[in-house]
Structure formats: structure tokens, C-alpha cells
Symmetry: D3
């Protein structure tokens, strides 16, 4: 079993705002992240799959195909978008890094079999160089 | 003459949209950067000053004081903000990296004498790790 | 279960020197790291916690609160300090990256319940960009 | 149990080419990576070992000894080499990142007991900053 | 005058070998870089242009257009290639980082007027993260 | 004229302390950098030389020779040392990044002619990833 990873990126706007709460509670909980007029990030996304290398190619997965799949089904859906307003799969959820990572996992787990028998292992998402989350599907 | 630099960062939303143009011309010119609902970035800002080291301290400028000045007068004015809507000194200008860098230069040139006789040399602003601008005031 | 990480940093002096040994044995074992007059590093510390995202906030843990806790209880205790002389919780221990990481784990495990029901998962400590350790508490 | 890692690097040429296949199938499968005249990379290699810190040294493993071992037995065998032509332990295998990582694991597992009772935990190999593999020996 | 930069990358094989010299002199001069079977690198290329921001767009140059131009005329000509064998504009020259940078400058100076009135200012080329050259055309 | 750069690193301890001042004035001026028991950094040093590429080698300077020269005359003199106590060329000076950079410049300007007709252009020294100085000799 070898673990193979591909890093992609996207730039997006969001805010942390719970519509069931008052503005005051949103500000107390989320601080400047609750700014009504949004802020944004350069997100970095690392997707890891695991499997046996194919003896004929030496590959667990063709990284060009994995990159294309991540771009088509994930990063192009969120790049230069507003994560609260423009992204159907984030509707009704807080636009936190945790919720983005688990939403990306669901998409990738569904799409990955189209390109490889390898299994999805981890989705790692950097919101900033110093803040990041990892989700292993469990 | 020694050049001394301090790097700070901020996270903000913006869009590239000229209000004098039609939506179509904005989309044709700015592509996804014109998305009506905004997108955003983790900006990295490097400010360089130049001067003679003080023989008693070994410093051209106290970097703690330079960092505080950049934060107070620049990064706290834009961090977790919308660069088009929330920032008085960007009103009426396109929120491009070029215009941000020149606006930051004007602020820093005005404020720097309060902490040092050293002169402002360069404002370098990364919008993404692969796109950045530099302004030397000329 | 989602894993959430926050990176902090500190700058410190140390030496590797076992007081039960002769100077010669210290030099033979630790090489230049045994220099009597100390040397130092820019340490980078990544703290990972794990838990379920709260549906109301989307957070496993408030990263601002985690950052503050790491700074108050860990990095401010060691920043601009001598790890052999100035840090009570390192007294009587070799100031190796391994021992720092396990000491930081004990502090964080004790303090974390004050801010979150999430559990401490990993302390990762870079002594240099090419040398680092990880501790999972086991 | 503490995990200790050391990062080394090497620069090498390779191509992805299965000699049992036609040129056309190689091009269809590997794209520009099949270029007959080779291409190359700056590889970054991170080796992780795990064990108990020695109370007298504070070390799981002497990182200078681990660095020397990785250089002697791995990176000097591949640095400024052609991975398809010049490296005996890659003969008859595709020069993929997956196969390099597993070959490095076998070498390191064999050589590590000469310097430490700690166990090999992971070989992580970056082919580019955005493509990397990990092998844990299982 | 504002300076605007775009970073691109490519992966290539090369060797340092002067065909007018004996193999021994090549080895004595270039060491492992003279390996007959090639080695390679992940090159990082930063192109800087200078000009006045357009008041209607806020841009010195459209960075998407600059990126496309660099890719079409430079990086796609060298990516996954052998710099000694596969690249017409390097024929008869040593494949050093210096000569690559000056060759890229000539191409970019010729092509840049097609997309912008801004002027080429600098070509910066990293062969490795620790070795790089800059050329300003003078 | 092409500019060629090599990056090296060293780890050292220091403090900012003017012996002509009271302890109180040192603390007021230098804050935690004045800690009597020292602190330290992982310094990164970039040395830039300029000259014409040699047509026979393609080199402005042999970067292996430049690296060896920097290590012998600069980084080995300061690595794993106390910059205030152990380094003859820093005696009687404040151990600031500014003073280190200008001292390194003097050494390199004196030693460079032994390996190349190229001229020293810049010494750039990072004390931390966010604080750095540049000296061009003027």
C-alpha cells in the first residue's frame, strides 16, 4: 500500500455567520470572520489516495488524471467564488474549513472510482499557511 | 546604507469590477475575478526601509516598531475586510494588487517618520504565491 | 472526526549537554550542538486536535482560542528564552526536540479542556526546516 | 514513542517508459513524462523513524547519523543520476515516485539498525512541490 | 512605475558538458553535473514587467495574459524536455541557468509587446531552491 | 551582466545588549531580545554575485566553489556559535542582523577574487522568515 498525494489550490471569499443567530452573537463568536462584507483566502488542498502500484506503470494513480478530477469536481466549483452564496454543496452549512473538507471528501469519494481502483485516504485543506484541517472519512 | 524588511499578512475579499463598464465588459476583461459575489486572498506584504545602522543599537529600524506601524496603519485596515466596500483609502479605485501597493506606500511614507529617520524603499505585495507587485514610489 | 491544526513559532537558545558527562563525551556525542556558549533556532510548532465539528459554528475548535492557548501556555514560556536555563518545565531534561515536544504535549493536554471538548492528537515541532519530531502521546 | 524526521534532497533525470509497450502506448499513458530524451526533478525525501528518546541524550536517533546514513545509502546513489540508467536498485522497474519510495524503504530498513534501535516508520518523497508519495512498509 | 511578477515552473533534464573538451576536463569542471546520462531539476521562473497601472483596470499587465504568454513561448518549450537535445533556442550553448535566463529574456522581450505596453524588467530562474540567477537585459 | 545567487544557512545564539547601557535601558530598547541568557535563530544567507557568463562553461561563477567559499569563510565561523561571544569579527559590535550582513560583506568581498572575477553584489540575511536585511556595500 502506497499513499499518493496531489496539491491543488483555489481562491475564494466567505464569512462565518450563523443565520439563526443575532449579529451580535455572530460577532462575539466569529470576531472579524463574521464581517458582513466577506473576507477571503488562498486555499491549498491536498488529496491523498492509497493503493498498490500497478506493475506496468509504477503508478497507484495517474496524477494527471487525479489533478484533472480534483479541478473538475472540486476546485473549479469553488475557485473565485463566494463559498456561502455560489456553491450548491455548501448551502445551509457554515463555510468553515472543517465543513469544506468533509464536503470535498464526499465529492471525491463519489468521483474517484471513475479514474482508479485506489481509495481516498485523506483530504487536507489549508485556509492559511498556519491553519489547516484533515479529514479521513471516519 | 542597509535595507531592512518586515513581512506581515492579511486576508481580504475583493472583486475586479469597473462600475463604468457593463457586466459583460467586466467579465470579458477580468474573467472569474469579476464574480459579483466576490472572492479573496491571503495577502503577504513585505515593507523595506533603508538607512544607516545606529551604532548604539545596531538597528536601521526597530523591527518591532515597524511591525506595529504596518499593522496599525495598513494590515488592520484591510484584514478580514472587503477591499472594495470596507476600506476608505481604496474608494473609487480598482482593488488591484498594483493599486493596493501604491496606496500602502502613501500611508507608510506618511507614518514612517514617527518611528525612524530611515526612508521607505519598497512595498512588495503577494496576492497569491505566484502573483506579486513591487512599488518603489517613483 | 476532523483533525484541526494551528502553527505557532518561537525563537530560543539551547545546547545539548549532559551534566553527568565529561566535556569530551558531550562533544563526541553532540558535536557542535554541545558548544558551551549555546546556539539557537527558529522553532515552528504545529498542534493538532481532533473532534466533531459543532453544527452551529462549523468548528471542531475555535482556532483563535487554540492559538491564544498555545501562546499563553507554550510559546510565551520559551520564546526568546534559553531552553536549558530559563524554562522551569525543561529543568533536569536534555533540551532535545523530542523532550520539548513531549513536554509541550503534557501542558497542552492539561490546558486544552478549558477551551474545547476536542482531544489533543499531535504535537509536531520543527527545530530546523529539515529536522522535526512528532508526538501522539502514546 | 516519538517520531523523528530528517529531510534530504537530490536532483535526477528519468522518464516513464515501459519497454514492453509501443512508443505510442507509452506516449498515450505517460504523456510528456515519456519524452525519449528524459526530463528531471529536484526530489525532496523525508525519512521518519520512531522510538523512545534515550534519557541520557534526549534523542530517539542522532539526526547527524541519520542524515549521513540517508546520504550514503540513498541520496548519493541517485543524485545527479539518471534513475532509469544509472541506479542498480531501480533496474527493471518503472522509475515512478511510488517505486523509488518503496526501493528507498528497503535500503533504509536494512541499514538503519547500524545506527539506532529505532524503527523505520515512513519514507515520504516529493517529485515536485505538488506531487508526493508516502510508504509505511505495509 | 509599478513592477508586476508572475511565477511559472517546468521540469527538465540537462547536463553541463562542453563538447570541445575531453570527458576528463568536463568531469573536473562540472563534477556530477557532467554525468553523461543526464540529471534534472524542477525549475521555477519569475518574470517581472514594469509600467504604469491602467486607471480603468488597475493593471500594469493582465497577469492571466502574462501567464499564458510565458507558458506558450517559454515553459511549454522546455517542460518535460532535455535542455541540451530538445530545445532549438539552446542549441550550441551550455545548458546553464545563466544561459537559460538570457535566452528566456530574448524570447519574452520579443513577445511581450503583443500583450502589453509594459516593459520586461527581470527574468529570475531557480534551478534549485538554493541556486538561482537574475537577468535584467543589460 | 547576470546575477547569480547561492543560499546557505546557520543556527546561532545571540542577544541584543549594549554593554554601555544599564540593564533597564537594554530591556526597554530590545525587549525580549535582551534576555541575559540568550536566544537564537535559524539564519538563511543569500549571497549574490554579478558578472558575464563564461562562454566555455556558461557560468558567471561555479556555484559549488561559491558555496564552499561561503561555508568556509562565513557560515562555519558562525554556525552553532554564540554571535556575541564566539565570533572574532563581531567583537565590539551589536549582534544585529544589519551588523552581521555588513560583516559578511567585508569577508566575502575580500575572499571572492580567489574563485571568480565576478563581483559581490548583495548579501541578504534572514533572521526569521519575516525579518531580513540586504546590504549592497554602499
Amino acid at each position: 500500500m502506497v499513499f499518493v498525494s496531489r496539491q491543488e489550490h483555489f481562491n475564494a471569499a466567505h464569512k462565518l455567520h450563523n443565520p439563526a443567530w443575532t449579529d451580535e452573537r455572530n460577532r462575539d463568536t466569529f470576531g472579524p470572520c463574521a464581517n458582513a462584507n466577506w473576507h477571503g483566502h488562498n486555499y491549498e488542498l491536498i488529496v491523498t489516495v492509497k493503493g498498490e502500484p500497478d506493475p506496468e506503470t509504477g503508478f497507484v494513480v495517474d496524477l494527471k488524471a487525479l489533478s484533472d478530477l480534483i479541478q473538475t469536481h472540486v476546485t473549479e466549483q469553488v475557485d473565485h467564488k463566494n463559498l456561502n452564496l455560489d456553491v450548491p454543496f455548501m448551502r445551509g452549512k457554515m463555510a468553515s474549513t472543517e465543513n469544506l473538507a468533509t464536503a470535498f471528501w464526499e465529492i471525491l469519494r463519489r468521483e474517484l472510482p471513475a479514474i482508479t481502483p485506489a481509495q481516498l485516504h485523506c483530504v487536507k485543506l489549508y485556509e492559511t499557511p498556519r491553519n489547516f484541517v484533515e479529514y479521513y472519512g471516519g
